[in-house]
């Protein structure tokens, strides 16, 4: 149950619940292909079976060129690093973990060396972080910083990992170690985010806003990152209007970025604006987290597409569990809570996720699930963490207040 309808009447909940049940049932009957995979023989030679990342795209062309070059010179470290960085960048914006695997393959000759080159270690850490192997990432970063205590990328990645692990104070220290030659916008984003996670939201927000004003010519990708962070901080502080303004500014940069889309969609869902979410995410069904938000919007709108998407999400989570992948716990918990409406199960997943990820969104999930499952005491670890960090998040504050009230 998302926050925005906490005040809705029991009848409203009842109707939504019934509608969802019908949709899910209909989905499993009408749209079996979404979940199962019955082999078939395609009827027509022209039938498109699969769409690929646009090969005509300049970025993709460059990738292909580098890949061909590296296959001729697989032991050329510079080339391998260049290709790996490209893959990682695309993997991030497309939210496609295949590219992370390709990056790892490019670095294969150095990957398991006793002492890999420093730059390989950095990328190994970045890739570990992308796999949610946070401890492995921190270990590699430690090795890098032992050798090169001024390594900007290492400090930045370290700050990010610690922040995700819910250790904002340590993350802040890492931001503080960023070398002075680094772009002020990067440093401000690092510190601003961490400050707003540790009880100094106004300070962090102001710092980041100022840095953005002072860097109008910064790299587009960097501005997008800073704006997304600024918007999130505004959202945590309960300033939905500012958050929306920053998100729109970020979108207007014209870069595709799955994280930005997801974060903006969450703001819209919280504001009970599902129609806009459906429009925003119409083409994003490949990315699990975005499909989840799209499906939430469709459900709120009574869109018949929702059923098929619920089935698809269920199949994807099942597949990822089969593979032993823990990356999707946050999404799976939210899916189980808000779409399947199985709060007890969702609480288990949310708590499991809390073991590795501790950002505001993860805390919120535990609180929502604990409340819906009528088990407020299970949220104890999250309450302690909130106490410890002093996180300022108006929605979380409201949730904590209502935690013992139970629901529906």
């Amino acid at each position: 149950m998302s926050i925005h309808n906490f005040n809705a009447s029991w009848f409203d909940h009842f109707i939504r619940g019934c509608g969802m049940t019908v949709l899910i049932l209909a989905g499993s009957i009408l749209n079996p292909t979404a979940a199962s995979a019955a082999p078939f023989v395609p009827s027509d030679n022209g039938e498109v079976l699969e769409r690929l990342p646009t090969p005509s795209d300049a970025g993709q062309r460059e990738l292909r060129r580098l890949r061909a070059e590296l296959s001729k010179k697989p032991n050329n470290l510079d080339l391998a690093l260049r290709l790996a960085r490209r893959y990682i960048t695309i993997g991030r914006t497309e939210a496609d973990p295949r590219y992370y695997g390709y990056a790892e393959a490019a670095l294969n000759p150095w990957w398991n060396l006793q002492v890999p080159p420093v730059e390989v270690l950095v990328l190994r850490a970045v890739l570990a972080q992308a796999r949610h192997a946070f401890d492995a990432a921190l270990a590699d970063l430690g090795l890098v910083l032992d050798v090169d205590p001024r390594h900007a990328q290492a400090w930045l990645t370290r700050a990010f990992v610690l922040q995700v692990q819910g250790r904002p104070n340590e993350a802040g220290e890492s931001c503080g170690r960023l070398p002075s030659g680094i772009s002020p916008l990067i440093a401000a984003t690092c510190r601003g985010r961490v400050e707003s996670l540790s009880g100094r939201a106004a300070e962090g927000y102001a710092r980041l806003e100022q840095a953005l004003e002072r860097s109008p010519d910064a790299d587009k990708g960097l501005r997008l990152w800073a704006l997304t962070n600024l918007a999130e901080i505004a959202g945590w502080r309960g300033d939905g209007v500012a958050a929306e303004r920053h998100f729109r500014n970020a979108l207007s940069l014209g870069l595709s970025d799955a994280y930005l889309l997801g974060a903006y969609a969450d703001l819209l869902l919280d504001g009970d604006r599902p129609a806009e979410v459906r429009e925003l995410l119409a083409g994003s069904i490949r990315v699990d987290a975005l499909l989840l938000r799209l499906t939430l919007a469709e459900t709120a709108l009574g869109d018949p597409e929702a059923a098929g998407h619920v089935a698809a999400l269920e199949a994807r989570f099942a597949a990822s569990r089969r593979r032993g992948d823990a990356r999707h716990r946050r999404e799976e918990a939210r899916f189980t809570l808000q779409l399947l409406q199985r709060p007890a199960e969702a609480l288990g997943l949310a708590l499991e996720n809390w073991q590795t990820q501790r950002e505001p969104a993860d805390a919120r999930l535990v609180l929502e699930a604990a409340r819906a499952a009528g088990a407020p005491d299970k949220a104890g670890p999250v309450l302690e963490w909130l106490e410890e960090t002093g996180l300022e998040d108006t929605r979380i504050d409201a949730l904590v207040q209502r935690l013992w009230e139970g629901e529906v």
Binding site: L52, A105, F160, V287, R316
Partner: protein, 378 residues
């Protein structure tokens, strides 16, 4: 310039969000099914991955059509099957593609490769070596389902664990029953001593001993009644001792058992020549049947019984022995019944047969009791 490079590099890398805004990573789904010793496979491989490995998009328009996939179907099969090695008992199975289809999974279209695996050895211990895409994407995983009837085992192949072994589960009870049933039948057929003993007892079953002379029994009812009693008594007796021995309740030295079995055949044959016991032959059958049961148990022990399903195999073996005996009776009884009235049967067949049996069994007895090399080759 250097600064610019540094900033770009950092921008590029720091942006990776920890939140799992992810596509599904690359997986393939491999199902291996064993049925009656035959091994078949189905392998679902994402077109995205095949594209990255083989470049399926012939016209480079960002879409893979059925036609484009079809044109490369042999290449797809060759590429994939070259990266999968299945061995049974350390002997490599030849993989032959049988069919290629398409399936839609939750994250896109997959090529579905069906294949047959021709294994030179029995499919009991399988070793699967999986290396698809590991060179291109070390995060690729091969998800295996191993299906054997109702049983189902799963495994995940990764670059860290590309080779894994599987022992196909304990066979289902009925299959086991069938196996041991066959062993039972087989054993009674190759166990000449049991056949000879039974036949020796059955030879006079179509006759009656009266006033020191053999007379044919009246009708089939009488003959059948006699045979029925003898066979049942023999069966009952050896079932009891077979079970006791198999369950480790009683154990007798095999040399003693084998010698007594040979002796039982000699005694039965001599009894036909110089009748001592002429009535209630079923008691003789029962008494010696007890010893024959220990003989069967020795065979069963050599078959290496699976501990978990001892009773099932015991039952199967017993039933098999019974079926084997019935087959012998079914051939013997009508023949003997038809010949019973002729002078040939009591005067030639019975004594000559019994004498021959006595001779052979005596040799067996010597071989077994004194542990000497075979005196008669059978």
């Amino acid at each position: 310039m250097l600064r610019r490079f540094l900033v770009t590099l950092i921008t590029v890398l720091v942006l990776i969000p920890a939140a799992a805004q992810a596509h599904k990573p690359s997986d393939s789904y491999l199902t291996l099914a064993e049925d009656q010793g035959a091994l078949t496979g189905q392998w679902d491989i994402a077109l995205r991955d095949l594209y990255y490995a083989l470049g399926l998009d012939a016209n480079d328009d960002g879409a893979i059509t059925r036609g484009e996939l079809k044109a490369r179907r042999d290449a797809v099969a060759a590429y994939a099957l070259a990266r999968l090695k299945i061995s049974a008992e350390n002997k490599v199975c030849a993989l032959r593609p049988t069919e290629q289809l398409v399936a839609r999974h939750s994250d896109g279209a997959y090529a579905v490769l069906r294949f047959a695996a021709a294994c030179p050895a029995a499919v009991e211990r399988l070793e699967v070596s999986y290396r698809l895409f590991f060179d291109l994407d070390p995060q690729h995983r091969g998800l295996l389902q191993l299906v054997q009837g109702e049983a189902n085992e799963s495994a995940i192949f990764s670059p860290e664990a590309p080779v894994q072994s599987f022992t196909l589960g304990t066979p289902r009870p009925w299959r086991q029953l069938r196996t041991y049933l066959w062993e039972g039948v087989w054993h009674i057929w190759i166990g000449f001593d049991h056949i000879l003993f039974l036949l020796t007892l059955l030879l006079p079953a179509v006759l009656l001993r009266r006033d020191g002379a053999w007379r044919p029994v009246g009708g089939p009812r009488d003959a059948f009644g006699q045979v029925f009693k003898i066979v049942t008594a023999f069966t009952l007796a050896h079932s009891i001792t077979l079970s006791l021995a198999a369950l480790d309740v009683v154990a007798l030295p095999s040399r003693l058992v084998e010698s007594v079995i040979a002796a039982s055949v000699v005694v039965a044959a001599i009894n036909n020549l110089v009748p001592v016991v002429t009535r209630r032959l079923w008691i003789v059958a029962f008494a010696f049947g007890l010893i024959h049961g220990f003989g069967f148990a020795g065979v069963l022990a050599d078959l290496d019984l699976p501990g978990g399903a001892l009773l099932v195999s015991l039952l199967g073996f017993n039933l098999g022995v019974e079926l084997g005996q019935l087959a012998i009776v079914a051939v013997f009884l009508p023949l003997a019944f038809l010949l019973r009235g002729t002078g040939f049967y009591p005067r030639v067949a019975l004594p000559a047969g019994s004498l021959a049996v006595a001779g052979v069994a005596t040799l067996w007895l010597i071989e077994r009791a004194f542990n000497v090399a075979p005196l008669v080759a059978l």
